[in-house]
Amino acid sequence: MRFLVVDDSSTMRRIIINTLNKLGYTECREAGNGREGLDALTANPVDIVITDWNMPEMSGVEFARAVRANDATKAVPILMVTTNAAEGDIVEALKAGVSNYVVKPFTPATIKEKIEAVLKA
């Protein structure tokens, strides 16, 4: 399973990748914002994208819209990991094309559960 982790915080990218490694997912690439994420996704397809919401240059929501607008990438599941937990935020993210949502702080069990959910959908 190939993952792309998009977050402007290098700390959070490492936390998520460490979590994925613990869950047995070792093929992980990373990008520092939505724009870099789009470039990475276009160059090398992945099976799941995990993205933050609040990022410079291109936010996670803008990134999700761009991924869904591209025939080559529109089917990839997108898991959003963010501190934004208001109902309006979640609705906006889902409308933009996010497949599922994790609110920080999170446990490895939550990440595992959400990954399994987006793969089944």
Binding site: I15, A86, K104, F106
Partner: protein
Amino acid sequence: MSVPQSLLTTLVSATEEVFDTMLALPLQARAPVNGPLEVPANVVATVAFAGHRRGLVVVYSSLAAARQITSSMLGIPVHEVNGEVPDAMGEIANMVAGTFRNRLAAVEPSSDISVPTVTIGTDFSTLYSSAVFRSRCPFDMQGEPLSVELILTGDQVGGLK
């Protein structure tokens, strides 16, 4: 002037949740205080919020505590921490403020939070306008002092619950 106890209780539980969940570093909460820090902080991480409420969540720690937090977050030994402290402490402040905001949003109109800012040094003070309500929640983190302060703008007088 101090902040209502209910908000401080929410801030303490939000902080404990972040440390328990993301760091596996249990915190020992002490009674909130309004006075200055007992030990000068070398690391100050701040996130502002605006909306229904306006103010700041500020995390104060020693450099040793910040390195311990960074080590736990990244899963690396403390002696290997090198340059990651600002980003890690900013993420801690972001998660504490975000969890605090999310808990309040369950019972009142929501607020938005800013990106974090982190100051690191050995001889500085953080000062705020006198027209604010502020209270600080001290914690003990494996022998290292850590504090999380809530600062609310004074124009919320009468609206604090």
